[in-house]
């Protein structure tokens, strides 16, 4: 069912954890659905300097979170917010059709973190 790359990211997820002092946090999903993703970012010069995730969910949920944090690291905020669910699924060598919503959630969580960062910046201004 799952590609070897999905299993790899599931067995050894990258960037797990939280920041004590994040620049932006995005949390999506809900426990009733069995999927919750939380992404924290540290931003420097409009780029994602560091990124971490926490996920409640199946192998696809954990793998897509891990993959998207790997992809987003070092990107500008603009580039990162344009990562689509297909980008994540392709990077994982494909996801079963009924698991595509996990890559959607990952992209949403990252965008939510970026929006949160922007909102915090706006408050400071």
């Amino acid at each position: 069912m799952y590609s070897e790359r999905v299993m790899e990211h599931f067995r050894n997820p990258r960037n797990v954890g939280t920041f004590e002092d994040p620049d932006g946090v995005g949390e999506v999903g809900n426990p009733q659905c069995g999927d919750v993703m939380k992404i924290g970012i540290k931003v420097q010069d409009d780029r994602i300097a560091d990124i971490r995730f926490q996920t409640l969910g199946c192998a696809a949920a954990i793998a897509t979170s891990s993959m998207i944090t790997d992809m987003a690291r070092g990107m500008t905020l603009d580039e990162a917010s344009r990562i689509s669910r297909n980008d994540v699924a392709d990077a994982l060598n494909g996801l079963p059709a009924n698991k595509m919503h996990c890559s959607n959630l990952a992209a949403d969580a990252l965008r939510a973190a970026i929006e949160d960062f922007k909102a915090r910046q706006a408050k400071k201004a």
């Binding site: 426990p31 919750v36 954990i62």
Partner: protein, 391 residues
């Protein structure tokens, strides 16, 4: 790679069981050697016919019924479909109400849903938090136009054994036919049809060390039931189709072994299950055990682990070559988790963290020890990743 070097620890016997070696041997001769069609008149055919009838007697002995009340099918699903549709169609002039429970297997539930689309009415009796049905709820739900009660003998998800004998008494008092899906109990606990008070009973070979693709229906003499499989005159004209001789021989052999080993198996499995259950609850914080505490299938342990998801646990255990199942939405393939857990009043977020261990004849104490060794660190690792779990 490491999974291939570690020995398999199979703890999903409620899903299916390995065929017993005796069963396999019994079946083999009917593939290429005694391959005759049992409906033919020459000696090669009569040999197959004999094998089918021997198997029938063995199943009859397991059920405490007459051999001519045993009908072979292609499995539990067909038997369930036949019972529900068969009675619905044979009795629809008398009434169109069917009584079943909220926790039945999909083979019963989906058949009921289908009948609802063609004018039947179905009441799904609720269960308590242990997935236990109250016979009084069944009595209260009876109507003048009720034609069938179908309640499972034991639930496949959490293992609760239902009060089938009491429900049978309710059915008899009301003059309503009573079917039980005994797929999870035949071969594991006593299943005498007169003690259960049933008119029909479904069973499946691959749940008790027989082959997949074959099962049986018990139908009490005198029960009016519409034929499901039309065609040739097999099974007293009630279920057409050339007999799956090797499969049926396998079912018979499995029934024979069940008579011999069932009770000692049950005692051993209860002890192992208790060790597993107590071990999990004692070593892992925020874990709850599900199903009735005492009236349960020997060998079935069901837990919900807070803060993490079932499929993730399942795959981590798979990496250790341990096979289990889960009732999370990701494993049911639907948006909702198991309908059984929801019917028990479990919130969806708790149901998503469910794991079912179902032990069988060949599981050992060492294997249980290994599970207790590797599962807690798996839970810890997944909980460390979870945004919802707070220590």
């Amino acid at each position: 790679m490491s999974a291939m070097r570690t020995q398999l620890i199979y703890l999903d016997h409620a899903a299916t069981t390995p065929m017993d070696a005796h069963v396999h041997r019994e079946m083999g001769q009917f593939c290429c050697l005694f391959f005759g069609n049992p409906a033919t008149l020459y000696s090669l055919g009569r040999r197959s016919h004999e094998a089918v009838e021997t198997a029938r007697s063995r199943v009859a002995e397991l059920l405490g019924c007459s051999p001519d009340e045993v009908y072979f099918t292609c499995g539990g699903t067909e038997s369930d479909n036949w019972a529900v549709q068969g009675v619905a169609f044979s009795h629809m002039k008398k009434g169109k109400h069917i009584l079943t429970s909220a926790i039945e297997h999909h083979a019963v539930l989906d058949t009921c849903k289908f009948l609802e689309t063609i004018g039947f009415e179905v009441t799904y009796v609720p269960v308590d938090r242990h997935a236990m049905i109250d016979p009084d709820d069944v009595r209260k739900a009876l109507r003048k136009d009720t034609i069938l009660i179908s309640i499972m003998h034991a639930n496949n998800e959490v293992g609760t054994i239902e009060p089938v004998a009491e429900i049978g008494a309710v059915a008899r008092e009301a003059g309503v036919l009573f079917h039980t899906d005994a797929v999870q109990t035949v071969g594991k606990i006593a299943t005498k049809v007169d003690e259960l008070g049933v008119d029909m009973l479904s069973l499946s070979a691959h749940k008790f060390y027989g082959p997949k693709g074959v099962g049986a229906m018990y139908i009490r003499k005198g029960t009016r039931i519409q034929r499901f499989m039309h065609g040739g005159g097999q099974e007293h004209n009630k279920r057409a189709g050339t007999h799956n001789v090797s499969g049926i021989a396998g079912l018979g052999a499995a029934a024979d072994l069940a008579l011999k080993y069932r009770d000692e198996d049950a005692e051993r499995l209860r002890k192992l299950a208790k060790k597993l259950n107590d071990g999990l609850v004692e070593t892992i914080p925020n874990v709850r055990s599900n199903g009735h505490p005492t009236k349960r299938l020997p060998g079935l342990v069901h837990v919900c682990v807070e803060g993490i998801e079932g499929e993730a646990m399942l795959l981590c255990l798979d990496a250790e070559n341990i096979c289990v199942s889960s009732g999370s939405a990701c494993t049911t393939g639907a948006l909702d988790p198991s309908h059984v857990l929801l019917a028990m009043g479990m919130p969806a977020e708790v149901a998503h963290g469910s794991v079912r261990f179902s032990l069988g004849r060949h599981n050992t104490e060492e294997q249980i020890d290994r599970v207790l060794e590797v599962f807690p660190p798996i839970v810890e690792k997944l909980r460390a990743m979870s945004p919802v779990y707070k220590k």
